[in-house]
């Protein structure tokens, strides 16, 4: 836990200071995919290990459209996106009162880009992001919508409208993240592939750079040490590119390739990349060779994740493989610590609350694993009875998870 607290202190506090200019954050928010620091970890939270229709479900509300996007939590509201219509070309942003589940407001938009996806996916697959005072909703159609917390439109962009070959017929899923006053968006596909840093105040591009011409469903993450400038970490089939969020200028590259589905995760001082299994590289400005690559700390081919991204908690990394086997390994060495068979298949990335990891499989079955002991132990099995592809959000002692039809708040 000490390592984790140090990590949070070193990485989150400077970033939050940069992110938030006027809104007071309680620390109880979950502002983007895998949370504020993109770790998927809410170290101090306690989520019930078991729940049912009559126990530990604070509320359940209907949603007007489909979505594999996760909820985000901003103060007293929970925000989700959805897509509806025969062609999924109606884009929704919804805000619910966190305490009651009452709908605060809903805004809809027409997709300006292509809306074809694999049947399993939805146009509302990327998780929205927030800087605490604005909401940035992103969709597979490559529409970006910025609203204030009352649902008032601040700006919008149609990235396929602007760049007509930027699309993927299977759908796009990369979730944007906010770093300071820049929204990092990866629009990577087989045809017109790019990443861009959008000014959060007006949606204009601070930078736009060509990216590998290959379909890519991964999401960016970031690294920041102390008061140093943060770096955005962009994953693709080529590897990882670390860039300055404000300029897009390349800091370093890891060029040994990486998965195009599960995303990398940052630990205390390393980045765990789904590359040739799982590869750990040292993070920082310093690079390892003249080509500007980071130092490779370890690699293990048996730790390759399936669809879910890995998660690192308290010195361990947890990976679910395609067979649904959860593997725990030492984050510093990659040494396998234990294995535990779960009931899959999984699309959602697990989240951590205190000593528990929470896994939602595609059938809507949630498995709660206690990771505090020498071996992992399933301590709770629950179901919401609907397909779950989204990654849950955790804020304080509350968890929010959505299906195509509903949003649940799980809490005592």
């Amino acid at each position: 836990m000490t390592n984790l607290k140090n990590s949070l202190t070193r990485r989150i506090i400077p970033l939050m200071a940069a992110m938030v200019s006027s809104t007071c954050l309680t620390g109880a928010d979950w502002l983007q995919f895998r949370g504020n620091d993109v770790s998927g970890v809410s170290a101090l939270s306690e989520i019930p290990a078991t729940w049912s229709d009559t126990e530990n479900v604070a509320w359940k509300v209907d949603l007007p459209g489909r979505g594999a996007s996760g909820a985000i939590v901003i103060g007293d509201q929970v925000v989700v996106t959805a897509s509806s219509g025969f062609r999924q070309d109606r884009l929704h942003v919804l805000s619910f009162d966190r305490a009651s589940g009452q709908k605060n407001w809903e805004r809809q938009f027409w997709a300006t880009g292509r809306t074809m996806t694999h049947p399993k996916m939805a146009v509302a697959t990327p998780t929205p992001a927030s800087d605490g005072e604005r909401i940035f909703a992103f969709y597979s159609s490559n529409d970006v919508v910025c609203l204030d917390l009352d649902g008032n439109l601040q700006w919008l962009r149609g990235l396929t409208h602007d760049f007509p070959n930027a699309s993927n017929s299977l759908g796009m899923s990369s979730s944007p993240i906010v770093i300071g006053d820049t929204l990092i968006v990866q629009v990577e596909n087989d045809a017109e592939s790019f990443a861009t840093g959008l000014d959060t105040s007006n949606g204009k591009a601070r930078w736009k750079k060509v990216r590998p011409k290959k379909a890519n469903w991964t999401s960016p993450t970031f690294w920041q040490e102390g008061d140093a400038a943060p770096m955005a970490l962009l994953q693709s089939s080529a590897g990882i590119e670390a860039v300055h969020p404000q300029t897009g200028k390349t800091i370093w590259k890891f060029g040994d390739g990486a998965s195009t589905i599960p995303s990398s995760v940052v630990t205390l001082d390393s980045l765990l990349i789904p590359s040739n299994g799982l590869t750990a590289v040292r993070l920082g400005e310093k690079v390892d060779d003249e080509e500007g690559s980071p130092e490779v700390l370890w690699n293990d081919r048996k730790l390759g994740p399936g669809t879910s991204s890995p998660i690192a908690v308290n010195g361990k990394v947890f990976v679910v493989n395609r067979a649904g086997v959860l593997q725990a390994a030492d984050v510093n060495t990659g040494s396998l610590l234990w294995r535990l068979r779960l009931k899959g298949p999984f699309s959602a990335t697990p989240v951590a609350a205190g000593k528990h990891l929470i896994f939602f499989n595609e059938k809507g079955d949630a498995q709660v694993v206690d990771i505090s002991g020498a071996e992992g132990e399933i301590v709770g099995e629950n179901t919401v009875g609907e397909t779950i592809l989204s990654t849950p959000a955790i804020a304080d002692n509350e968890m929010f998870v959505r299906s195509d039809g509903h949003l649940w708040k799980i809490a005592k």
Binding site: A111, M116, L153, L156, R157, H161, S169, A205
Partner: protein, 405 residues
């Protein structure tokens, strides 16, 4: 993408007249704000001014809705979304405060088919919140509406009606299904209706219903190993000469013909010609239009492609095996009266995975709402009588893929 030729100014006058019949004419002049919103353009240009304008528009009264709705006429997809947000804000504010909305005027706007289809649908959904009878009264009249959403609702009602008829009412059910089919453009509903009709003994000509192009001239394979072919302008891109012998990947090739009998118009090169890999094939056909008109070429393919109409390059996409569906791509085009020449370049890569072997295309001609636009003659024409044409330089058109409804 403008859908009607009437000007924004004319639309403003019309909407003002419609709304003024009961509600007072707006006191506020919102034209500066509407101009700001309608000026928003690529890459975020005009976003700040548009956002400021929407703040003003969102504070407008219900009687100002006519002005805002008129702003949809000819608005870009980006501007339409800004306007949508303003309309939603005005409506939500009035509904939350239990203030009346001008229901009769809203309904008149919905029923006027020359108004922007997006705005009409938006207004209908607002109207339905204050008038629970709106759906039952209005939707049945919208079977052939320019708005695909209205038409879909009307079709679904008829399908429901047909399904509710007993086995003793087969003839009546056929009539209702046929009526539903007349307005159906969404593939799921067309498939459902055609299956029901087939069960009742009626066959549906899906090729004609969708407007698939089924007869083509074809030549190739040209080289696409290592993906080189997409960017190489082989001979058919420079000049269409169906009598010429062309140097290709494996030697000299000549134009042949291919006609599909697939009920969904799929031209399957892998099965009907050869399972070429690392290849480029060209397909050409002619299409006789009754008059000059705007259409959409809609097609599905798992292969990379480029499209020319009358020698003008319209769009291309370098993507392989990411799925195939009816209306996967939508490319706006202008047809001239008489004969039009359509040229397709279809590329196959070298993947050996089982799921990467399809080499096919399904293409149709329709209006912007998805209704088939058939050629003058009921059968597609091959290009045997098309004279040689020189190509225009390639240029990606910005509207080609941004035309989602």
């Amino acid at each position: 993408m403008p859908r009607f030729s009437r000007s924004f100014a004319a639309a403003s006058v019309f909407s003002a007249i419609v709304f003024s019949t009961v509600a007072n004419l707006s006191a506020a002049d919102l034209s500066p704000q509407l101009k700001a919103v309608r000026s928003v353009s690529r890459e975020g240009q005009g976003n700040e001014a548009a956002a400021a304008a929407v703040r003003t528009l969102s504070a407008a009264s219900a009687s100002d809705l006519s002005q805002i709705l008129a702003g949809f006429e000819g608005a870009s997809p980006l501007a339409a979304n800004y306007l949508r947000n303003a309309v939603e804000s005005v409506a939500d504010r009035h509904l939350a405060a239990k203030k009346p909305l001008p229901a009769k005027q809203l309904e008149a706007f919905v029923l006027e088919r020359s108004n922007d289809p997006r705005a009409r649908r938006l207004v209908f959904e607002v109207l339905a919140k204050v008038d629970s009878t709106a759906g039952d009264r209005l939707i049945p009249t919208m079977l052939l509406d320019p708005s695909p959403e209205f038409r879909r609702d009307a079709v679904q009602r008829l399908v429901g009606e047909a399904e509710g008829l007993g086995k003793d009412s087969a003839d009546k059910a056929k009539q209702v299904y046929r009526k539903a089919l007349s307005g159906a453009t969404d593939s799921d509903l067309v498939k459902k209706i055609s299956k029901s009709l087939k069960d009742l003994g009626d066959e549906v000509d899906l090729v004609s219903h969708f407007g698939f192009l089924t007869a083509w001239r074809i030549v190739g394979p040209f080289d696409n190993r290592d993906f080189i072919g997409f960017d190489i302008a082989y001979a058919p891109e420079k000049e269409l000469d169906f009598a010429a012998k062309l140097k290709a990947k494996d030697g000299e090739v000549a134009w042949g013909e291919i006609t599909t009998s697939d009920k969904f118009g799929i031209v399957d090169i892998a099965k009907s010609v050869a399972p070429h890999k690392g290849a480029v094939m060209y397909l050409a056909t002619s299409y006789e239009a009754a008059a000059n008109r705007n259409v959409e070429f809609r097609f599905g393919t798992p292969n990379a492609w480029k499209l020319w109409v009358n020698g003008k390059f319209l769009f291309g996409r370098d993507e392989y095996h990411r799925g195939m569906a009816i209306d996967q791509y939508r490319v706006p085009a202008k047809l001239k009266a008489g004969k039009n020449v359509i040229l397709l370049k279809l590329c196959q890569n070298e993947q050996d995975d089982d799921w990467a072997q399809r080499y096919q295309i399904q293409i149709r001609v329709c209006d912007p709402s998805g209704v088939a636009v058939l050629p003058v003659s009921s059968k597609n024409q091959t290009t045997s009588d098309v004279r040689s044409q020189k190509r225009q330089p390639q240029r990606l058109t910005a509207q080609a893929e941004g035309a989602s409804e």
